[in-house]
Symmetry: C2
Subunit: 425 residues, 2 copies
């Protein structure tokens, strides 16, 4: 594949990076918390102010702004003649609690800069080119990850908005009231136009690019995720009176189990296994744990490997708990298949990286992203830029100005091909 | 040692056991919870009603009741001529949350039955013989285990009551207000008379007696306890984006550490090691644990063994965390020396068991008891009766009627020697 007309005025990655850092700095004022980091949960005042700020930035750059039913914000670079499928690029401004200022936000400012640079340099595109800030990606305030992008896709496909789920936040506020309180502008019919392609820049959140010393990650797939609860039941007992030999310590059993599983996981390339959440009962200093429940999060790009590891988990759980006279219940509660990115968009990103002179490599995304919502029905792709130390979802999340600039340059080239050359896969 | 005058009317262990079960059944109505078991925390209405019920039972058996400053309740079998050091026997009616109906309560009803049987059979004793229900033993509502017995001892030694500690319960109520709300009767000067001996019957809460098929445990010592917090610090990270190789998973490290320590603990006879309380941060399904804090409770009857194991803990913590690139902080927050029981009281219990024809064996108490408060300054001893399956601090805690009856018979013989024959060590 080759792209016939590349942008002839080359943007400066350095100045793009500087602009990105400026915008990220401004955006970081919304939801910054005294304990460190940023907490900008969907539909809260901090999130609402961030979206309003973004709308002003879009307007000042000559983009036409509009909203949809759930608070997704768009800034359009209008084509000279209307019509045609939209080219969508963006990310999200909602964060985890005490998150960093790059996850989501980097993609937002990159899209804003890329689309405005293209408009300022080449004038109107041939297809509507929309920057989008999805209303919700993280699923932290409400357990509805990708809520924004799911509704954006539904609108673009002429479907009705997803019915409001009956979910409450920590303060007992339901999502319907949260939306009402956010006082969103009315939805525009523009949000219902079909989408021709979706491209998202995001920080890697891992350390593969940094370790390889590579500028651009070309995402080939978003890994599949399976989640389980492992409930180990032993026998609670008095810490001083029950002999070590007589015990069925649920925590001792859970620890053996986890260590064995982690060892097996580490032997499988690219598989990740995380036991992040633990509930110990009765969780008292002087009582032998009688019941321990913990989560397992398993990710891999191959469905088959996830199947095999699921068998491994079952086997290890039943062997170890039998050895220790405990019992175990394994519950699967999430099964997301791996999502491949569109091969043509992958090639487009890769070739844009080469043309710009930045090193690139194919990478997997270990995290979920809004791109996975679109990838099933719209040609989609993702550009990763390096994360220092692979740190993310934490206040010390960091990507350098130069690294951001390189990513934005690649995004510009990709969007040029899609919206100006109407190179649609 | 021999006891000159043994009770010449032999009580029937069977009928004593039946009476005990009746009384335990009545007592169990106070604080019984729908989730199962009994929650009777100090100074709550359930506890207050239990003490009031007990006072009525004491009165109906001809005992003279009185209280002290903190709500310890006494029922005295008055001697014909006043004066002399008191013989104290009792336990506590407060429980853990969802506890059983034997821990503490068995000693209360045993004392009540034993003292009334002696009074009904032999008339007034030669020394004041007091049944005592200590205001608090478990330390569950407020972190002040042995609060009742500590104050009882202070009063008996003519010391001022322990200053009220500044502690709050889960609802933010401080102990001062809790005492006020309990509306306790005024303290009697009788609570300030010196104590000559203390004897407590208690369920074993372990399974040694049951395993050995023995009726009576003669407690030789209450084990020493040391408690630690182990804080393991790794690095939090995204469950999907951080490779297994790059992780410093605090929970994986804590699990290795615990398994290694449990293995070493199991090799030391009579040592117990319990990691009962766990705090995992951030405790989210999709985040690698960055910090894990867990408690260690170590018990043994030898101070030297506790010292040696403390070194072991330090060594294992620093080796394993170093291997795994984590860091660790070990904080010791409780150090209670082992408490030996009085050798003469030990011999008295043992000989009473033989005289009654019940099998007995020396045992350690792995749990703390009010007896340890007295043992430092007053000759003290404990009689254990078997616990089914060693279960305690749980709704299915159980001791049979016959086993209780045998223990009460032994208690009667011991109290006869102390209060009627004034056999004081």
């Amino acid at each position: 594949m080759s792209i016939s007309h590349k942008p002839n005025l080359r943007p400066s990655a350095q100045s793009l990076g500087h602009e990105a850092v400026q915008l990220l700095h401004s955006l970081a004022q919304f939801g910054s918390v005294p304990e460190g980091g940023i907490t900008r949960l969907v539909y809260t005042p901090a999130w609402r102010e961030a979206q309003a700020w973004l709308e002003r930035e879009m307007t000042s750059r000559g983009l036409l702004t509009f909203w949809d039913d759930v608070g997704n914000l768009y800034g359009r670079s209008e084509p000279a003649s209307p019509g045609g499928r939209r080219i969508l690029t963006g990310s999200h401004v909602d964060t985890v609690r005490q998150g960093g200022c790059f996850d989501g936000a980097a993609g937002i400012v990159a899209s804003l800069i890329a689309v405005s640079w293209l408009r300022a340099t080449y004038g109107p595109p041939n297809l509507p080119l929309d920057v989008v800030s999805f209303a919700e990606e993280e699923g932290v305030r409400f357990p509805v990850a990708f809520w924004g992008s799911s509704n954006a896709l539904a609108a673009a496909e002429g479907r009705e908005p997803t019915p409001l789920p009956r979910v409450l936040d920590e303060d007992g506020i339901d999502i319907e009231r949260a939306i009402r309180d956010a006082n969103l502008p009315p939805a525009s019919r523009r949000s219902r136009q079909p989408v021709g392609a979706y491209v998202e820049l995001h920080v890697e959140q891992g350390s593969k690019l940094e370790e390889a010393g590579v500028d651009i990650g070309v995402v080939t797939a978003i890994v599949g995720q399976r989640r389980y609860w492992v409930e180990v039941v032993g026998r609670a007992g008095h810490a001083g009176t029950m002999s070590m030999q007589a015990r069925v310590d649920a925590m001792a059993c859970a620890c053996s189990l986890l260590n064995e599983l982690l060892e097996r996981a580490a032997a499988i390339p690219d598989l990740t296994l995380t036991a992040g959440q633990w509930h110990v009962e009765p969780n008292a200093v002087n009582v032998i744990p009688g019941r321990v429940t913990f989560s397992l999060d398993v990710r891999h790009s191959s469905e088959r490997q996830l199947d095999l590891f699921a068998c491994e988990i079952e086997r290890v759980c039943s062997n170890i708990t039998a050895e220790r006279r405990a019992s175990v219940r394994l519950t699967s509660w999430m099964n997301q298949a791996p999502v491949p990115m569109n091969p043509s968009i992958i090639a487009l990103i890769s070739s844009a990286g080469n043309d710009a002179g930045w090193s690139s490599m194919p990478v997997l995304s270990g995290a979920g992203h809004d791109a996975q919502t679109f990838a099933g029905s719209v040609p989609s792709g993702m550009i990763f830029v390096p994360s220092r130390g692979g740190v993310s979802h934490a206040p010390d999340e960091f990507t350098s100005s130069d690294a951001l600039g390189r990513g934005i340059e690649v995004l510009i080239r990709v969007l040029y091909a899609l919206a100006y050359e109407t190179y649609l896969p």
